[in-house]
């Protein structure tokens, strides 16, 4: 295809794996952390079973403020934190850190919205049955919201694919790096096109598998 030399093919293959690794790791971490924050939001909200004005009042603005910082600025602003956490501020691993920091509040709001869809009267009925808050989360909120949570994870992964391109600004590597270095700066249009096609395929695969699983697990 494209009459690409072996070197250029391996360049693209490596870049694809770098992007996949970055997106995969960032999605996994941000979904886990975002799930925890989202659950805390729903529990401490004014209608939640652990309603807490101070905790919700603290958490909710932090989530919104982090969400409103443009990613490219956040990327640079948290460099000291990134360096402290992973020892460097350059490269694929370092790029994962700001990706997670940016995605967690995004996931938290998606999770909160997904859990809000769970009928509050059902939640209360189970609480009235003698459930602990933890049991309400693990036996009601999460299982009931599985399809919505999977769709939230899908949306997150796709957003992270987009954001990961910006992470190239700190030497994040991956397809973005190839697209800019070879496609843009060296006018190799075919390389540019190849990276775009690969990205489209990645996004389609994420969307398709997320939707497939969500439908499969929907009992309604």
């Amino acid at each position: 295809m494209f009459g690409f030399s072996e070197a250029r093919v391996s360049l693209l293959v490596n870049a694809t794996f770098e992007t996949l690794g970055m997106v995969g790791a960032a999605t996994a971490f941000s979904v886990l952390l975002g799930l925890a924050v989202g659950v805390l939001l729903i529990l401490t909200a004014p209608t939640g079973i652990l309603r807490s004005r101070p905790l919700y009042g603290l958490l909710s603005p932090i989530v919104d403020i982090t969400r409103s910082v443009p990613f490219i600025i956040l990327l640079v602003a948290i460099i000291p934190f990134t360096r402290w956490l992973v020892g460097t501020s350059i490269g694929t691993v370092a790029a994962t850190v700001p990706l997670v920091v940016a995605a967690v509040p995004f996931v938290a709001r998606l999770v909160e919205a997904a859990l809000k869809e769970v009928d509050n009267s059902v939640v209360e009925a189970i609480a009235a049955m003698g459930a602990t808050a933890w049991q309400v989360v693990t036996k009601v909120y999460l299982p009931e919201a599985v399809p919505a949570l999977l769709r939230a994870a899908t949306t997150t992964a796709i957003s992270i694919v987009g954001y990961s391109a910006m992470a190239g600004a700190v030497g994040g590597g991956g397809l973005r790096n190839v697209a800019i270095t070879y496609g843009y700066q060296r006018f190799q249009g075919d390389i540019m096109l190849a990276t775009v096609i690969i990205l489209v395929i990645i996004v389609q695969l994420i969307q398709f598998s997320g939707e497939f699983l969500a439908r499969r697990l929907d009992r309604r």
């Binding site: 059902v122 209360e124 189970i126 609480a127 049955m129 003698g130 036996k139 009992r219 309604r220």
Partner: protein
């Protein structure tokens, strides 16, 4: 002003459910609302007690106080001698197992099969898997749903869902079954089959049943005693036949007129 048709001769200790001057106020944008304004009610063991009232009379708040989802501002809610309003944490969770509740909207988990829904209260209490599945199957059989244990709520009819909810409420062997408008989402035929089931709950399992509803025919069909709730107070209480034949309170008269 409480009009009693007969003096309550039974000692208080015999009452499995005892509400004592229960007051609940809400603060809303429109100001303060007194939802319950000193509710007194004693339900003797093994009785099917009805509580009727217009919407806004305080029925929903009463249910929320009985399930300890709300704490009364004043008064006591005792079930089997234990004051629910005073309990916290583990003790409250254990006391809650003494009262099973069914609702108008069934409140089943859509992600679980009928059997897993019935087993849920036992799962919450830490009962082992084989023991709770055995009990779930036994209860589903008892409510007339044997063979449907693997069905999800979405695959069941309204009447079948309410049967699953009844089985679930009975799973932890409570002493009281609280029914919050349990027939309002069901048709006439299904309603009478659910009423027959509630009577079996009392007759065969010896539970006390509290039926909170605005549907007078249901109360007339199965309740021995009925309390009339109006503006947050029990304004009349007595044997169902006596209250229906000769209502003393204004609220009871209006309720009965509406139903004819």
């Amino acid at each position: 002003m409480s009009v009693l048709h007969e003096p309550q001769s039974r000692p208080v200790t015999d009452a499995v459910l005892h509400l004592d001057g229960v007051v609940k106020r809400y603060r809303t944008r429109g100001g303060r609302i007194v939802a319950l304004d000193g509710v007194d009610l004693s339900v003797p063991r093994g009785v099917i007690q009805g509580v009727i009232g217009f919407s806004g009379a305080g029925k929903s708040t009463l249910v929320r106080c009985l399930t300890a989802l709300e704490r009364p501002d004043e008064g006591r809610v005792r079930i089997g001698g234990v004051d629910l309003a005073r309990l916290l944490g583990r003790e409250l969770r254990e006391a809650r197992r003494g009262i099973g509740t069914i609702y108008q909207g069934f409140q089943l988990l859509g992600s679980r099969t009928a059997a897993a829904n019935v087993a849920l209260p036992l799962e919450l209490a830490g009962v082992g898997w084989s023991q709770r599945s055995e009990r779930a199957l036994e209860l589903l059989d008892w409510v007339g749903l044997s063979g449907r244990e693997g069905s999800y709520p979405a695959q069941l009819s309204g009447g079948q869902r309410q049967r699953v909810a009844i089985a679930r409420a009975l799973a932890p062997r409570p002493s009281v079954l609280l029914c919050d408008e349990p027939m309002s989402a069901l048709d006439a035929e299904t309603t009478s089959s659910i009423l027959r089931l509630l009577r079996r709950v009392r007759d065969e399992l010896k539970l006390t049943v509290l039926l909170i509803t605005h549907e007078l025919p249901a109360v007339q069909a199965i309740c021995e005693r009925v309390a009339v709730l109006d503006a947050g107070k029990v304004v009349e209480e007595g044997p169902t036949a006596a209250v229906f034949d000769d209502p003393r309170s204004d609220a009871a008269r209006r309720l009965l007129q509406g139903s004819v």
